[in-house]
């Protein structure tokens, strides 16, 4: 059996100011696997992405990408195999035209110019931006910028793509489009996000980080349907996994109903429903299978 796409073993990391961002983190990601990394703010998620791409060196432990141990001498090789889509697309789009931005990675990899043209046009078509190739990236909409940032990374054909908050700040249609793009990608994918619905749509497995430690690792539906676990770590169960009574409870909370004080599942366990429950059960949502 070959080496996993990603292997972390006993990884710890502290920032120079002493803040310990990761503590003894270890997990494997198999080739072709899609993994969501979720957790509250300050859990260490973004630090983890920077470690994977070799921007930060672990204080302890080993990070391997495609069988290569991430280190100063291997970082270029690692970045050929692992693409990182940053949280803010403005950071990722820095060329004068969208075409040049998407071509940036392949050109640096030494791909022949004719082939680069083919790759760029194909990638832009894949994310639905083929008609905007000559536009200045700064003038795109937020959703288009996000799609462009993804295109800029996947044009390098990395075996592994890491997405840092890929749906943050998007309207529902753009968000759905980004989820579809991520779902359509081959290879291994790591989606770091607070958007648990998106993670549920894109990933089969979820790792929950809090305080720099892994607190849960398992099938996405199992981890994300554990309301008590998510509550304890500052997250909310995705709507699509909520029972009808949980929906009613959330609805009541939003309306400020006095009956809604019970924690998730409390009323359900008592076989009762919140009095403020005109909303009824939410329809089951269509899931995009990764």
């Amino acid at each position: 059996m070959g080496s996993p796409a990603i292997r972390l073993s006993g990884v710890s990391f502290s920032y120079p100011d002493g803040v310990e961002a990761l503590r003894d983190v270890g997990f494997d990601v198999a080739e072709g696997e899609s993994v969501g990394i979720v957790g509250p703010n300050g859990a260490g998620k973004s630090t983890l992405t920077l470690l994977l791409a070799g921007f930060l060196p672990p204080r302890d432990g080993i990070v391997e990408v495609a069988g290569i141990r991430v280190g100063r001498s291997t970082v270029r090789e690692v970045r050929r195999r692992l693409g990182l889509v940053f949280e803010d697309p403005e950071d990722q789009l820095f060329m004068g035209t969208l075409y040049d931005d998407v071509a940036f990675g392949p050109m640096n990899m030494g791909v022949a110019p004719d082939r680069v043209d083919e790759i760029v046009r194909g990638t832009l078509a894949m994310v639905g931006l083929d008609t905007l190739a000559d536009r200045f990236p700064g003038h795109l909409s937020s959703g288009q910028k996000r799609a462009a940032a993804i295109a800029a990374v996947i044009a390098m054909r990395p075996a592994i793509v890491v997405f840092d908050e890929p749906t943050a700040g998007l309207d529902p249609r753009s968000r759905r489009r980004v989820i579809e793009i991520i779902g359509a990608l081959g290879g291994s994918r790591i989606v770091v996000s607070h958007d648990l619905e998106a993670v549920l749509d894109c990933c089969r497995r979820v790792i929950l980080l809090d305080g720099g430690r892994i607190v849960a690792d398992g099938p996405a539906e199992d981890v994300l349907s554990d309301g008590a676990l998510l509550d304890a770590h500052g997250l909310e169960k995705p709507h699509s996994l909520m029972s009808a009574s949980e929906h009613r409870h959330v609805h009541a909370m939003r309306l400020g109903c006095a009956d809604a004080g019970a924690p998730h599942g409390g009323r359900e366990a008592a076989g009762d429903a919140c009095a403020c429950s005109e909303a009824g059960p939410m329809p089951a949502r269509r899931r995009a299978t990764p």
Binding site: D91, Y99, N108, P113, V116, D117, V153, M156
Partner: protein, 245 residues
């Protein structure tokens, strides 16, 4: 000018700047024909002259600063206008200012007509040192980041400070400047990380090939020939003689 190969535009601009710089220091009148090049180039590239002059106005204080000492250091009489004796220092000051403004104007038009990345690519193709080209390219990117951050902070100040004097005061401006620099540096670091993540090794490569066509040769040779004529032939005297009959 936009249709030119960036190498042609850079070569023509380079020839122009070298030619302007080579004029003797008391030949301010002889520089007059050289003004035709930036004006024609601006017209051809669709740059309004008002915009060109606004850009030049930003550089004008530097032109003054460079030559302002000349009238005091070189006070010997050089020319006599009706009733007034003009010191050589004033003539050389005017020449320096004219050279500065002409050179800057052609570069302003170049940057307006050709994207900075195209200019950098042309410079690399013309064997300019990588360090220099990377500096120009990254400086341009940094300025864009700085401008975006600055605009966002200004909006925030306007929204919360209205037009109050305190919001526009020196201490607020100093604090904003410090925060602006810090934020810009952080943003610059993130952009640099994004570049590294996509294989950046110090050289910015652009896709697509540059194509040198006959029009590029014609433009480069045309500008070089005009500059040489203005520099070595008594164009001003001819024009003056013709005008005076």
């Amino acid at each position: 000018m936009r249709a030119l190969d960036p190498r042609a535009a850079v070569l023509a601009a380079g020839a122009y700047v070298v030619c302007v710089a080579s004029f003797p220091k008391y030949s301010v009148a002889a520089l007059a024909p050289m003004a035709a090049v930036p004006i024609v180039a601006a017209a051809l590239s669709g740059m309004p002259l008002r915009l060109l002059f606004r850009r030049l106005a930003l550089g004008a204080p530097f032109a003054v600063l460079v030559g302002i000492a000349n009238p005091f250091l070189d006070a010997r009489p050089y020319a006599v206008a009706p009733g007034v004796e003009i010191a050589a220092g004033w003539i050389s000051f005017a020449t320096i200012a004219a050279k500065f403004l002409l050179s800057v104007s052609v570069l302003v038009v170049l940057v307006h007509a050709v994207p900075v990345q195209g200019i950098c690519r042309a410079l690399r193709a013309l064997r300019a040192p990588l360090v220099l080209v990377a500096q120009i390219d990254l400086l341009h990117r940094y300025l864009r980041v700085l401008a975006a951050e600055g605009a966002a902070m200004r909006r925030a100040r306007e929204l919360r400070g209205g037009g109050s004097r305190r919001a526009r005061g020196g201490s607020v401006a100093a604090a904003m400047l410090a925060v602006l620099l810090r934020r810009t540096l952080q943003r610059g670091e993130r952009v640099h990380r994004a570049m590294l993540a996509r294989g950046f090794d110090g050289e910015i490569r652009l896709a697509g090939r540059m194509r040198w066509r006959p029009v590029d040769t014609a433009a480069t040779v045309g500008v070089a020939a005009f500059c040489a004529a203005a520099r070595f032939l008594p164009v001003v005297e001819w024009v003056g003689g013709t005008a005076l009959g």
